[in-house]
Symmetry: C2
Subunit: 332 residues, 2 copies
């Protein structure tokens, strides 16, 4: 990096620190008058220790080489009773896309599909399912005149049918539809059990400020509690899968921002039954670690591809920088 | 990562090695008969040492935090005579986007804009300009009924006007237009000097195979030379800036894949004057380092944000993992 960059970085830091007083003052003027309406201090009087929680997360490793995009996606589901692991199940996919379009998008959809398949497979035997990320992100938002109905007869929890498609654009569309199918099956049959948890929510529906609702709540509140529950209707026009759009059409979901422990960070919770918010709080509170559900922390640790994993992958693939030494095109 | 992933990775590797014989056989059958038409063995008899080459590249550092996306983009232009540095000039931008859309796209466009501004500023005093990346990537491809003409009167080499726009969608459109404006100014006034060099070209216009042209040429040729020169017409419909679309409308550019040293890798060259290809080869050959133009290697080294840079950035920002300790929203 050129030396001038450091000078500019230091200048920017100083400017932010000078400006911070003004920003906070302006923000507090517009926020404080409505804070009482939008934030409820609350902590459950009793908690629930013996429910079965299924925590699910996925991880990925992606390497773009001249020969194509090699990737590993893995997902894991752990059944917890409180903070004790009862049993678990994993899924993995190792694959290569030839150099082309939408590789990143398709790989993320594959990872999510493994997670949703695990959820659908194991939901029957648990009380709640904790999924990492918002409901709307999982459903996606893809306006299209042309619905996909190719996969509608089969909701598979073992196979990924979209992978059989050769055309990249079609595969992307099918993957979106296949995710929506499994998700809609989950929602239509088990909606009261589903809890979608996002720690980095950027939504600003509550305060409608340039800063996210979570940022503002972290600035101006300290107690346990939750923000005013907002409602959203699912718009079938943005669902690609015809069957999923029928199953979810007009359904409402709810969201709030929770703080489970005093002065800790908040997270956003998406759910389908607004009457059950106190039940959910009773279940989430005793598994909180610094304000975040411990089961999701544990499963995240198990699926993420860390430094050691990457080194082992590189050594298996005999990979140096961008090249794989044994790859056929290098030999002939 | 779950353990099963390693087993699957090893299986995949074994399968690829088993399949490689078949793939190579199939490929060589369809390629070898047309190779003579599409590849020309050639090495210039004399070379040109005393021309002035301007090599330009950019680097970036991006960190997404809860408070927004902080980034540094820097660009550098070095004037070379052969492989000797004569002088240089740098540009840097340190900035924050509030959490929002298209951050990555906008940052990449900002980096490219710094590079193009440096090119426009310094092109007058040099014989050739070496830019990293393909011409079509720099121009972009953005179909839109609505042309942008807001910035058309000013081609700035010092300021970035798009940054003044608050709306994210508009800023993205303006940045595309502003890049196209500077690029079209460069092309319309200095096109014979411009050489666009891409080391990772994935285009397959030549052999029209699932593998890229460069991959195929690296498999089936060893000598110095270049592939059949192909021509492309610029389609004004995909240019957002009204002025740039007028300046570039209907213009042709050319591209070929070059090998400057025996058995070394190829790169793609985009240029505007097909008659000058031998002149370009005479200039590029003596600055080749393992087949790639040394001036671009050197300037890339100067702008890239390496491990030490990142550590220094983290220390200036007092940053740990995803948080910056002094950032205002953490204090109040």
């Amino acid at each position: 990096m050129i030396d001038k960059a450091y000078e500019e970085l230091i200048k920017m830091k100083e400017k932010i620190m000078r400006d911070s007083y003004t920003i906070h003052k302006e923000l507090s003027e517009s926020v404080e008058s409505i804070l009482n309406e939008l934030w409820i201090n609350y902590s459950p009087e009793s908690v629930e220790h013996s429910k079965k929680l299924l925590a699910i997360d996925g991880g990925m490793w992606v390497k773009e080489t001249r020969q194509g995009v090699i990737f590993i996606v893995n997902a894991k589901a752990i059944v917890f009773e409180g903070i004790n692991e009862i049993n678990s199940e994993g899924k993995v996919l190792v694959h290569i896309f030839s150099p082309g379009n939408y590789a990143k998008e398709r790989i993320e959809l594959l990872m999510q599909l493994l997670e949703l398949q695990l959820a659908l497979k194991l939901v029957e035997n648990v009380d709640y399912v904790l999924l990492d990320g918002s409901f709307s992100k999982k459903l996606g938002r893809h306006k299209s005149e042309l619905k996909v109905d190719l996969l509608d007869d089969i909701v598979s929890i073992d196979k990924i049918l979209s992978l059989e498609e050769k055309d990249e654009d079609n595969m992307l569309r099918f993957l979106i539809a296949e995710n929506q199918l499994v998700l809609s099956e989950l929602v239509s049959r088990y909606k009261d059990k589903l809890l979608f948890i996002s720690k980095n929510s950027k939504s600003s529906d509550l305060f409608k400020q340039a800063y996210s609702d979570i940022t503002i709540l972290e600035l101006f509140t300290q107690n346990c509690g939750y923000s005013k529950i907002l409602e959203k209707k699912i718009d079938e026009n943005y669902i690609l899968s015809r069957k999923a759009s029928k199953l979810l059409s007009g359904l409402n979901y709810y969201f709030t921002n929770l703080r489970l422990e005093p002065s800790e960070r908040l997270f956003r919770l998406d759910f389908f039954n607004a009457d059950k918010i106190f039940e959910y709080l009773k279940v989430l509170k005793p598994v909180s670690l610094k304000g975040y559900p411990y089961p999701l922390i544990k499963v995240h640790k198990d699926v993420r591809v860390g430094k050691e994993d990457r080194e082992r992958i590189y050594s298996i693939l005999e990979m140096k920088r961008k090249d794989i030494s044994w790859w056929p095109s290098q030999f002939y």
